[in-house]
Symmetry: D3
Subunit: 337 residues, 6 copies
């Protein structure tokens, strides 16, 4: 198995218990997550060693986050302590016709986003691990964080390690006219990356590519090969999701590799907690790539992992490799005794 | 925006946490509601000022009710304190094939139902507000309450204000052979009213009208115009509801106005808490009428408001005007960040 | 061991979780209790058979009460189903300088207080059981209940069974100038009773006796022998309680029997839930009398039972005979493994 | 109505609150159940007297189990106290594509499985009750328990009482190559039994019968009559279940009696808690047989009882006879006020 | 009664349920508080009208805060909506030898601390209300907030209204060497104020005064008259608190007015939630001053109000005037029925 | 800092929420603990690396235990997975005069107590760590576990590492006449050990020593030096505890070293959760010995650590070194902001 590190912020998730609003309730459940947290935690459950490169405040909230990450199976040796705050968000679960709502508190001043990352640590990490994961959310933060992200990426690249980049473009983080702002940073990251998560919308909006096809499936087939070629990517992957009226979602995953598209079956499933399911998909793809699995197996595995992530509370996938393999077979089981 | 008052009882809702029965559980969640509470709270969220004309006991339960009404955005200036009890009901949530159950405690001796309402307050309210809402549940209580209800209705009518009456006929409250008993009181209220909520069943059972049509839709089209004409009503509105086998309901709203029927699309949606959804529909119609919106917009808005009310815990609608307008567009959204 | 029945109302206790108020909280814990419930449940834990003579509504609340009584170890064969409501009360726990508050809902219209009790059942019970327990709270309800109480008491007396009466005078139930109203009814019950729970205040206020002594202890010693003699009582018992500033209470129990007073040591103890502790004391005395224990052992047992009842949540004592005997020894134990 | 006893273990169910895993959560809900518990509790709700023949430890867990069984309406007179442990299992509720998981603790050393059952008690029970229920889970425990089970069964048979046997074969309890081990014991129980719950898979795997038909329905029709004839059974019953992708199950019940098959309609319904639903089906069949109802009514009643059991939390059915009869009519009801 | 406004931030309190730490728990209770919130809410319970001058974000957290403030009885007309965040803090309750811990999130960027307050609103408020309350915590925030605070104070002063200032110096907010920084701002506020809350430590540390007395009581008597004279204050008040080993605190209140000190009795009491008790004391003093009560009554009332505030969950006092008057009498009551 | 491993069982603690009994409640909180868990977790908070040598089942309960241990800061590399069960105990919290109760489930068949420990792992651990901790509870289990314990102890001794042994004699585990049974095993462990936790009662009862002194303090001073000399112990330590009537305990710690006794001050403190406090004391002593602190500092540190452990929920100490040092100063602090 491999050692995989993620560079990214740990956030506190403050969830109103099902299905009340913040005005109705007076209690919250909390946990700690983040794209990087979710990905390396999932990989730890598949048998890899998962590390996080991050910074947390040296206060009771930071302590609680560290304890939680350890509980998730993540190694915390590369997490420094400093700064003053932990970014957080409030989640109100929707139901049926009522959408879930996320309200962020100030993450700009968080420990991670104000950290002075130590290049010596980056060098050590680059030497020690097999793959590093980055995320477009981190890219949206500020110049210092962006710079650190690229430094670490280049160090890993130079050391011959696999660099993973999830585009994960969030319009609300970049602000108005943001695509212009984001484009050069995304291009830099794509230059560094080996495995990339994105779809045709990222290609069109962020990279400014144009498609002659009208529907999403066609655009995907048209644009992703161009991106893969331009940036010499080992693999590009992503999903198309559809939200149905009966509390179910439908999802189809793709993996483009060595000039070929591989698609999962379309899965339709009941949704309990949607947040973090994209990270489960990503971890399934990364696991397949790290294991050199066949692309078709990998994309089916990733789609099943994403499906299962919709059935657990919290942002972070909990399924083991065995759980995902069982779910891939598609037959629903009675109580497992 | 307008000032709208409702005359009605505030009840304590004591809910067994999902989906246990009273024999199974040992804890309850409580809130305070009532048709009037639900309607003016919803209108307050649409930007109006919502008042309640009611009486609550001067004890910790009355204090808790006042605090809760204020939290809902309701103005409590017209609520007097006195009497001894607050009416209450226990709600056991059903699931699928098992229906929800409501068990009432003694509401007949409640503060509201034993109150001596002050005509001077009624006159002041009639002068101050733009519309008053009444409900058939209140009409079922006792002679004193009925008399007060009519006095307030007439005072509002005389002051040129809009009188709203929701038929809301509850067989269990009127007892055996109750239609005979109820009919004259309903007729009196219809004489006073401008906006009325009812459907063909009320026309047939309470008013004793006969229909040649066999199905509900036909009877509605046949009888409602007669009612509207007989009582010179500005608007008559209501819904037809269907309970489906998969924890969803289907609902279609109607609004009859100026000689014409307007129907909403049929909406089918997952149900989280069914209680109070009729009041959400009523508040949507009232909002449209107070705003002079087009009848079609109003009936679609009201149906969407009713749909959203099925997705929140508690009797009282929580949606803002923006929430309802979004839901009217009919597209299901992913997590709103 | 004996068969003991209690005649009395079953009430629903709705408790705000510690130590919030009704305005602050949104949830309640519920249980079912009553003086009779508490006494026969405690006796059942001491090895007797405990029955309740009562009526409960034939609805989900009545079902839940029956289930709860069975869980407490009470036999429910003599409980009829009918009427419409169950009396209930809300309890807000105080803390330190803030006293607990009890708010009653309408118990006057409860199933028990509107029941038509069947004399045939009373005769059967009188023949079947060894002792019947009555309470002054029941005496305060209405003429029908009072009459039923006396009929059952006389039937038991006539059958040679032990009649127990707990004065339990509640000023708020009798209303203004209530002592005059209550006196004849209390006198009738004292004529019937064998074992009576009261103290000097009951003698002075209800029975209109006068004491030359100034302090409570002296008045007790002066008046109780007169009461015992006048009504030919087998035993009279009660407690003196002191509320201390540090969340502890001090309590001393007395038992007057065959012309002699017997006092327990003064016990001082931390209080978790004060409600129902008097009933624990009564059940300790009844147990001793039914077992023909020595008066000193009985009064110490009863005081220890009362002390333990302050340490458990809910109105109803939970201690077994062994628990009380251990507590009588007065030594505090570490965790019992 | 009848007196029905069940011989079987009481287990503690420790359930992670919906829908977390043991690693995620830090709290559990607990209750007490078991096939026998579920069956006689359901029968008690239909108006019969339900007894349990079992043993529980004389410690706080045993006390809690006794209290819980009494709350369920079960008579506990035939439960002895002794041994050291109560068997227990942990339940993690699945959601959609994620199956529920049950993890057992050591039940082999439980009070029930190490009890010395007293033949005098068996004789008394056999004389006193009308029917006794046994279960294949008990048969899997150990030689002493198996022997006691057969002794009690023969005593009941000899006393002319109805013997009920639910095959309930659990592969994990018998271990590898278990069918060989189980066969003679099942055959002995079938010799004793009058009413048997099983389906074609039991006939094939346990009894070693062969079927020429390929599908389950055909095999059922082929094999069950042979079993009924061979063991001279009064009635054989069971279900076929299908797990659907949308959190619903489909179920069809059968009852073979006097040479004829009777089938319920296929019911499809939303599932809240699947555990124990088979016991609800069994209790419906037993109720019909004890009441001499028509086979078609009985099988429809049993299927509706099973459906309702999927809608309540916990293993133990809660529906009354009225609830089941209403559900048999198949129309979904709005809130019952 | 009077109209009293407070100028200050509304904070979200996120409390770990008793008595766990953030690392141990996974749930929080939340409420909304702040010095101004606490003071005007308490005054509203004494019969005054309480207003808040503040700003809250226009998001679900702001909505929840508004609803909560309304529930507390506070008028929210002067609260503007804007900015991005609500300040918040996490509270871990200590027990006995383990102190409670408060961890702040970033309040510097909160809506209140980044608001552009409108002078027209200040003028309107100054004209409308009778008294305005300010707090030293607000003074510690930033130059804009400080400037707004002083503008509103001067507007109120000019309009002849009572200006109240609570020194409430928090070292952690001002940072290193902070007294120098704070002094001129405190002096400006003292120039404006009529009623001031402080004690000898504020005089020494913030104002740089020196005392020849060695003990706190002597220093208080020496310095407070100088402060009152220098700034021409109507009243100066405060408390001395002692933390005892047995989960109780001891508190003595003082009020200096017209050249004389008035002290409350020393109160010793069990503590349930210490946060916000100082604000209860302040509101008692303000109530007395607004009512022109005798200074001795006022200081005893304020101390009793502070004592009661230690007995309720949450920062915000809940006692009514009647509750405080009862507590002033000092006798502990049994359950109030 | 050092590497410390503990050899011992991980148990599941199932706690009834405060202060209900198992019969009253329907929910439990769970965590994972054990003497070894508590000690190495506490040491991890003081800055050491804490390892556990144990076995856990390869099922969801084992997974949950591993996750929990990681959350506590414990390294789980030396924990093997196998066997079938995890030992568990139920805790009902007492209050005041009512003692806490612990009910064990079957731990004899647990994974740890049936494990085949691998000598190669023991050798590796002995080489890798600085100190190993053993406990008398493990010694009471069975011959295989005892043998493994001694093998590991000797391996560590041979490797020159510090061997720690906590006598922790539990009468209920050894059974009747158990001292005879236990003595040789304790003697063997004392031969191996360097640091021992015991007091005069262990010397008298287990080792069969006799004391001429009558009181515990005198016996301690008489016997411990003999034990230390006989077994050549580096240090012997323990506590004397007194349970007071007001929910407080008093505790005095001792450390005997190099021929001298060192005693802590007597600490008296409010108790929230008593379980595990002895392990906190032990970890304080071990920390001092590993750090070569002065004996007086060590014993005061250990006593303060024990005191703090009584103030947190759960068996496992949570205090950091800083927390303990603060508590050693003995002054009670207000809210720490």
């Amino acid at each position: 198995m491999s050692k995989v590190a993620a560079f990214g912020e740990v956030m506190m998730r403050l969830e109103v218990p099902r299905y009340a609003t913040l005005s109705q309730s007076n209690s919250l459940n909390y946990s700690f997550s983040g794209t990087g947290v979710n990905v390396v935690s999932a990989l730890a459950r598949y048998g890899h060693e998962g590390y996080l490169l991050s910074e947390l405040p040296d206060n009771p909230l930071g302590d609680a986050a560290i304890a939680y990450l350890r509980k998730l199976g993540i190694e915390t040796d590369y997490i420094s302590r400093g700064g003053r705050y932990i970014g957080s968000y409030f989640l109100e679960h929707g139901f049926g016709a009522r959408a879930s709502r996320v309200t962020y508190t100030d993450r700009w001043g968080s420990s991670f986003n104000t950290a002075q990352f130590d290049d010596a640590v980056f060098e050590r990490a680059a030497a020690d691990i097999d793959a590093v994961h980055f995320c477009g959310i981190t890219l949206a933060m500020n110049d210092e964080v962006r710079a650190a992200m690229k430094r670490l990426g280049r160090a890993a690249k130079k050391a011959g390690k696999t660099v993973i980049f999830d585009c994960n473009y969030r319009p609300s983080l970049w602000g108005e006219g943001s695509y212009e702002l984001a484009k050069p940073h995304y291009e830099e990251m794509l230059e560094i990356a080996d495995i990339v998560f994105m779809n045709e919308r990222d290609a069109i909006h962020i990279l400014g590519m144009t498609a002659s096809e009208k529907d999403r499936a066609g655009q995907l087939q048209q644009l992703i090969p161009q991106v893969a070629q331009r940036y010499k990517l080992q693999a590009v992957a992503g999903t198309h999701r559809k939200i149905n009226g009966d509390n179910t979602h439908s999802l189809i995953g793709y993996l483009y590799k060595e000039g070929q598209f591989h698609f999962s079956r379309q899965l339709t499933f009941a949704v309990y907690d949607r947040v973090g399911a994209g990270d489960a998909y990503a971890s399934g793809i990364i696991h397949g790539e790290l294991q050199d699995a066949s692309p078709l197996h990998t994309v089916e595995f990733a789609a099943a992992a994403a499906m299962l992530a919709h059935t657990v509370a919290g942002d972070t996938p909990l399924a083991t490799e065995g759980d995902v393999l069982t779910a891939m077979q598609g037959e629903l089981r009675d109580v497992s005794r």
